[in-house]
Symmetry: C2
Subunit: 224 residues, 2 copies
């Protein structure tokens, strides 16, 4: 088993992987303002975590720095790019040209990270626009399109009652993982990756935790 393969951890360290992506974004910014080296402390400070966490994340994936001089940004970015796969371009289709689908489509930050939104699909004929960039195509052509261009990544941004149907088409056509905005637990084979993002839930939970914080404070006040 090669070292590179061995570094693609899956079962464990999901959260570490997420943080690695964030470290990378920060490093790119730091580099752009002329910084050449930094310590795990600097990274931790910028990311709102601890230096131990940073080093542990790196340790888990075999990323290393220099014992006294910290991390050279160029070196570290190279290691991260190899590990996180910036170098292979990945094409992505979005299904659902509603608010979320269009917001993602317009977001320009994907391309330079190796992700290219190649098409949107929608069931509403009023949204079609084959000459736009990316084009907005009829949902009926989704299967064919994925097969033809060998797309592996999808985004599901359709209402919840349509989501499983869309996913089934994607799976059949050869997609291997999706980001899912529909608020429903989708069913998929074991070798398929689903990343659920539920914006309503995320906002609702803020309201809850704000209330929880208030309760905590009231308790403390009463305790004295």
């Amino acid at each position: 088993m090669g070292i590179v393969k061995e570094r693609y951890k899956m079962k464990f360290a999901k959260l570490s992987v997420m943080r690695l992506f964030q470290y990378k974004d920060f490093l790119i910014r730091a580099k752009s303002i002329g910084i050449k080296n930094l310590f795990s402390d600097d990274l931790a400070e910028a990311m709102g975590t601890t230096s131990t966490q940073v080093r542990k994340d790196f340790s888990l994936f075999g990323l290393s720095g220099n014992k006294r001089a910290g991390y050279n940004i160029d070196d570290l970015l190279e290691q991260l790019n190899e590990l996180l796969g910036k170098n292979e371009k990945q094409r992505v289709v979005i299904v659902g040209a509603g608010n979320i689908g269009r917001a993602l489509m317009k977001y320009s930050g994907f391309y330079k990270e190796g992700l290219e939104i190649v098409a949107l699909f929608d069931s509403d004929i009023n949204n079609y626009n084959a000459s736009a960039n990316p084009p907005v195509l009829p949902l009926e052509s989704l299967y064919e399109f994925i097969c033809k261009y060998k797309i592996e990544i999808g985004v599901i941004a359709v209402p919840y009652h349509a989501a499983q149907q869309v996913l089934d088409i994607m799976i059949l056509a050869g997609i291997k993982g999706v980001m899912n905005f529909a608020p429903i637990a989708l069913k998929s084979p074991k070798d398929f990756y689903i990343n659920d993002v539920n914006l309503k839930l995320e906002l609702e939970s803020v309201a809850y935790f704000v209330k929880a914080l208030k309760m905590e404070q009231e308790e403390q006040t009463n305790d004295v």
Copy 2:
């Protein structure tokens, strides 16, 4: 210490809280198609988790069912609504009228969960529209607005270099928690709640885990 207060868990069980919100959404749907009762197994099946997890989540927050007959949806929803706070209306401001800000604004699902988007704020004069619903107002009026209407929840959907500034205004004006879409670790007092949502990261990570799955499969193939 009252029982109700005690149920607002904060330090632990963050993930349980998130799931409770999801159970609630599912229960609302189940109710709308006429279902009256269900078992932890049904909930687990629908949510893509296990019945043990469901019962443990409920147990942590004192939610209970019936030993042989499972859960009555109406009862459970009532308990969840009390716990998760549907009943108090919460007003929310969004800062940043870009793609994400507008997508959230247009999303209609918040209102019936007790969340009301009362205004958007933007620094670009071209986006102002005081007579829209919700209105789009100049960023300069953010502080005053929050104070005047005693808003406690905010959404930050501005570019990363503006996010901390916006947050500082919010904190000063009395907001207690935000959902943050800016890809940066914001600094805030300890009694402030921040929920970071990084869509670029979420999509990038799909690409990573798809690749990791492939590697795993290749290994298994080679192992035979």
